[in-house]
Symmetry: C2
Subunit: 216 residues, 2 copies
């Protein structure tokens, strides 16, 4: 979308409102929700919505790209922390959790969309998480057998909406869960994990990353 001409301020505002409404409704009701309902929730006319997003796929794709961009910014921000790598890991989860209401992603109930921009974002996220893990492992603050796929699925688990619970309660429970999980990543007294981690390519094939490119 970066090659498009910049939008006027009101058009930009409408676009943001449509995307925010789409994120909410996709999370509440799934991506099959009627586009007219999205326009209504956004407070814009159906014509305005269709001018920006000609069909559901375009809207779903944009919401998913936005979600991966949020995650990439969060993990890159965590990697840039000059602190203890254990703190970087903590920041990674905190930053993603803060944005959880905005995430519509394959592992959080969204559809898998295969397109180059999305695969690029997924690869960049995985590589950044791997960088943080490598640093944390060599500092001796994280057990050796944890993979980026473990952290990615852990983040997905805690970011999924908890059905029926009010947002504040579910955010508190998620933050408590993350604190316990992070403490559990420490190597002291760790016993072998009960199952093998999926290979990155094997995992990636199901969530859209191109398996051929990620077979290591």
């Amino acid at each position: 979308m970066t090659t498009e001409p910049p939008l006027r301020a009101d058009a930009q505002r409408n676009r943001e409102r449509i995307l925010a409404a789409a994120r909410e409704l996709f999370r509440e009701q799934g991506t099959a929700v009627a586009l007219d309902d999205i326009a209504r929730r956004a407070g814009v006319g159906a014509g305005t919505l269709y001018r920006r997003f000609p069909d559901r796929d375009a809207l779903v794709r944009q919401v998913i790209v936005d979600g991966f961009e949020i995650c990439l910014a969060a993990v890159e921000g965590a990697r840039a922390e000059p602190a203890d790598p254990a703190v970087a890991l903590e920041r990674l989860f905190l930053r993603v959790l803060e944005q959880r209401e905005r995430l519509v992603l394959p592992l959080i109930g969204g559809p898998v969309v295969r397109e180059p921009r999305i695969q690029e974002l997924q690869h960049a996220i995985r590589d950044t998480v791997e960088d943080i893990l490598v640093r944390a492992r060599s500092a001796g603050v994280v057990r050796d057998d944890i993979t980026p796929e473990d952290l990615i699925t852990a983040a997905a688990m805690v970011c999924r909406p908890m059905p029926h619970l009010p947002d504040e309660m579910s955010a508190a429970l998620a933050a408590r869960h993350v604190a316990v999980y992070l403490h559990g990543l420490r190597p002291e007294g760790a016993r072998p994990l009960p199952a093998a981690a999926p290979a990155p390519g094997d995992f990636g094939r199901h969530v859209a990353m191109d398996a051929e490119q990620r077979s290591r």
Copy 2:
């Protein structure tokens, strides 16, 4: 359902097949799925289904009661373990994870159903988890600030289907996550948790337990 006369063997078999099909379809598509689709998946006629379950609510209720009964058996089995209370906690998660495909429960995407049998099962599950925690805390193997609500939501998180991933991969990732989480429950080096736990009554009100009875 225990007051009904026993069913003939073939009727019992049909009932089990209907319930298994309902569990599968509820987990895949939500509880709004058409009853005819459930009959088709079960390989029984629509008439057979309606004879056992006059409407969707009856079927949903039974699947949810079954789910809570599975959980209660799992936590009671774990409590009965004569071993180290840390092992009891581990068994608790393992036993629930083993049955994850059969769980349709409020925190795993099912609806909240308010009825005495369900509230009774929820209370019994919470009390049993509390017993295990009390023993684990006094043995010094679990930090003091973990509540049954933490463990119940942790179990719900790892039992929810992971979208798009094959069952075997998602089971391996869930088992790895649980092992890390359990290790993180140990009190050694624990820092204060970042948010307060919800009060049992406050939590219970949203998932169906009667808040008045559980205000402590």
